[in-house]
Symmetry: C2
Subunit: 298 residues, 2 copies
Amino acid sequence: MVDLYPSRIDNEPKIFDRKDPVVYSEGTDLAKGPLNREQVASYEKNGFLLLKNFFSTDEVTKMTGELNRLWDENRTVDSPEVIREPESDEIRSIFDAHRKNEEFNRLARDPRLTDTISQLLGSNVYVNQFRINFKPGFKGKEFYWHSDFETWHVEDGMPRMRAISCSILLTDNHSYNGPLMLIPGSHNYFVSCVGETPEDNYKSSLKKQELGVPDNESLTWLVEQGGISTATGPAGSLLLFECNTMHGSNGNITPLPRSNVFFVYNSVENALVEPFSGLKPRPDFIANRNPETPVLTG
Amino acid sequence: MVDLYPSRIDNEPKIFDRKDPVVYSEGTDLAKGPLNREQVASYEKNGFLLLKNFFSTDEVTKMTGELNRLWDENRTVDSPEVIREPESDEIRSIFDAHRKNEEFNRLARDPRLTDTISQLLGSNVYVNQFRINFKPGFKGKEFYWHSDFETWHVEDGMPRMRAISCSILLTDNHSYNGPLMLIPGSHNYFVSCVGETPEDNYKSSLKKQELGVPDNESLTWLVEQGGISTATGPAGSLLLFECNTMHGSNGNITPLPRSNVFFVYNSVENALVEPFSGLKPRPDFIANRNPETPVLTG
């Protein structure tokens, strides 16, 4: 397969234009919702859409309860799905939560979500990745700028830009407790990064990303074009962002933790192929290589 | 001298009530300005006051030019006044800039500043510390929560809470490029920290503070009382904050650097005594022990 988005090959960073649509459905399929015309236009232009108070307080309470339970259960568990902070033993993320937990499994199949994603991606979708993230108070570390697609393309073999990340805010996200920052419009450019991917890179990159890191000049250029937008909102808000939207977050020294549920829907027409790095694929709990099983909408 | 604010002595953190006024002048002295009644009341209640666009664009340009010049001159200088980032050789702060640079010397004597500080502190004032700070884009590190007074009291022998920090924003401070965060009302409480101060602590603490660090429980309590306020504003804004106001800042992964001029006026009636740690005082470039020379207003 031709590599439309080469990265980690050259010694010089490059910026390519996006070669894929942002919104895939058209006409009546697009018009039937759930998102209205303004919401679709905003997503298409900016590369993300924040839907405040998408989930009720009761739903948030239930999800938070499940998150805390998984947290406690995994506190001392040594499992590849449990990712810890680089400089401490604190849990940073737990992957594959939707296969371990009924509540999160149901959440991933919630038609309010899948119908929305299908409307934008113009096809059936499946869950490519599912994790819960916890950024503790006082010592939450930053997560540097990256395009999810860059990694998924190089390390997992996602061929095209036809996936959407969902982040459900489980705590209030203020401007000061390390909320997600996004660069509006950045999804229209592919920043080809320098360097070569080593074998089993994910074992360190999930703690702290050292590869697939965009260069300062490209980031400055993207911010000059689109500025920076901060996804602040109350617990229960849903952030959808296009797989190639450049995003990151600062650390969090406030006492207010920031936790969320994060999952990725990919189009069934965009199933993973061999990684474009030429290396062996990352494990299934990071990138689902069997879309057949968990097709969620029909 | 009795130690009204003991810290770094016990094994348990404690919170004491403030034993000093916040605003020292009264009656006609207070009423004559430059700050109006609302501004004084806001400062007294919150422990800080942000005056947007206090300096003109021309003045900011001049200060930025001087800052950049000092930066370039000191790039490879190995001097105690030049503090570097903990994990790189990047300059973090340059102390004593007002004694090295005519522009900053004039700034420290600017009556728009000294009259304001004298109004609040009810006496003549002198510059206790003067430095320029640079938080670079992409890799600016956080500065953890602290009360300036806690350090100045323990390590420099500042007897009472009768000093004010001034921060002049030289770049636009957005919510997302690591602006100063303050806890409103925190100046009314003294958080006594655990631990003992080692000899020459300042040599590492100016890069990364490990002592005089408030405990999580006290910080949580202060934030529950007062919330968190973020000092965002355009370049040229002036932030005044009371010496005991709890403050800190998150890191900055954005391309937008955050630099400022920071200086501290102390009341001539609050001159430094022997450090309450019992150790030898920090050098003069960090804490001016000779208020006679640079009395600025009369």
